[in-house]
């Protein structure tokens, strides 16, 4: 909930300034699917929403601010619980639900790779500086905590810190729908706890494949980018 409010406030802030700035700025919005690369035993999949604001006139080597929110689907696990109560089974296996969300804000720049005769182009987006926040919620189903104790339980946690990411962007239908496809990979963060308690899951390092649109404001007629 906290991440959603931050997302909405920051998006509104960016949208306001995108209208008030002079020509050539663009806002790029995309969505698609993401897969976590850092958790071997759990496959966190999600639906990412990415908003990128490029205030500069330039197309090449341009700075941009990117905001990314990943709606991650919960994954299933299990935990073993034990009881001293002689009237109950001494050991039971409980289904476990691990839910999470991911929010990232980054500052990066574009590197032009290639443009063909149809003006479709490849860019490399490099984000050497980003801040990410992840929150994990764990719940054991049918857990009778009065009589049972889960051994080595997973618990709720928060991970956050600096991240880096890289993306390959293919821009097409330029001058018409201004569409793009992006493959985006981000490093994981740490849980940052002293005397860290071992958990069955790790922080997410998402790989995202998204499709989106560039929205230009007062864009000038395109010249050959080469």
């Amino acid at each position: 909930m906290k991440n959603k409010n931050t997302f909405l406030i920051t998006f509104s802030f960016l949208l306001f300034f995108s209208f008030s700035l002079s020509a050539q700025s663009s806002l790029s919005v995309s969505s698609g699917i993401s897969k976590d690369l850092n958790n071997g035993s759990y496959s966190f999949y999600g639906i990412p929403v990415s908003v990128q604001w490029k205030p500069s006139k330039k197309e090449k080597a341009a700075l941009f601010l990117e905001m990314n929110y990943d709606f991650v689907f919960p994954v299933k696990g299990s935990g073993n619980a034990y009881t001293l109560n002689p009237a109950m089974p001494q050991e039971v296996t409980l289904p476990e639900n691990i839910g999470t969300s991911l929010f990232t804000l980054g500052l990066g720049f574009r590197v032009h790779l290639y443009t063909n005769k149809k003006n479709n182009s490849f860019y490399l987006n490099l984000i050497p500086l980003g801040i990410s926040a992840q929150h994990f919620n764990v719940k054991y189903k049918n857990y009778d905590d009065e009589n049972y104790e889960v051994m080595n339980p997973d618990v709720n946690s928060a991970a956050g810190g600096l991240v880096m990411s890289i993306a390959v962007v293919y821009n097409f239908n330029k001058g018409k729908q201004d569409q793009f496809v992006m493959l985006h990979v981000q490093t994981p963060t740490g849980f940052g706890e002293k005397n860290a308690y071992p958990l069955s899951y790790k922080s997410i390092a998402p790989m995202q494949l998204t499709f989106g649109f560039h929205f230009y404001y007062n864009k000038k007629k395109e010249n050959n980018e080469k």
Partner: protein, 194 residues
């Protein structure tokens, strides 16, 4: 030379320090989670007051959670006694009026030929209060003897270290109730006498 000696002392100090490894159980305030990580942590409620084994601070010697004493007590009866004892303290410095217990012992009868193999065979065994005894020692009121339930959830022997985790509870009549007890111990197998 002096700086080298000081640096060496600091390195030696930190290398012999163990972490507290107390991770709060969200369902049972004041108690640590049930784990099998060799944390040498044991917690329980005694009359709803959380107790924990103390942490030992020492500059020149080992620092860490107090380990249990595990020993076989010889008796004149048909059975000997397996004793698992550790010091305890209240895990709430704000409670100054409660009777303070300073140690707890869990006692269970064993055969005269009990060995480490027999101890390992207790893994996964739930022992009822028919035969188990709990002893609580108090600073003010002496010792209290009652009955206990004991569950050795997991016991392993790894590179001459015995790791064992489990649950326990007990009572001394109606006046003292031990509830939600859990332990996660790892001791040198050479420290036991069977």
């Amino acid at each position: 030379m002096k700086n080298s000696m000081l640096l060496f002392a600091v390195v030696l100090f930190f290398s012999s320090c163990e972490k507290r490894n107390f991770f709060p159980d969200e369902d049972d305030p004041g108690l640590s989670r049930l784990t099998f990580y060799g944390y040498n942590i044991a917690t329980s409620y005694i009359n709803n007051v959380p107790y924990v084994n103390p942490y030992r601070h020492s500059f020149f010697d080992f620092s860490g959670n107090y380990r249990p004493s595990v020993e076989r007590l010889m008796t004149n009866s048909d059975f000997d006694t397996l004793s698992i004892s550790w010091p305890i303290e209240i895990n709430d410095t704000g409670d100054v009026n409660h009777t303070r217990f300073y140690s707890i012992s869990l006692l269970t009868p064993i055969s005269k030929t009990f060995t480490i193999k027999d101890f390992l065979a207790l893994s996964g065994k739930r022992l009822s209060s028919d035969s188990n005894v709990v002893l609580l020692n108090s600073n003010i009121s002496g010792s209290f003897k009652g009955v206990s339930n004991l569950y050795f959830i997991k016991i392993t022997n790894d590179a001459n270290y015995l790791s064992f985790s489990g649950l326990f509870d007990g009572n001394v009549g109606d006046s003292i109730l031990i509830t939600k007890g859990r332990f996660d111990f790892r001791i040198d197998a050479a420290d036991i006498n069977f």
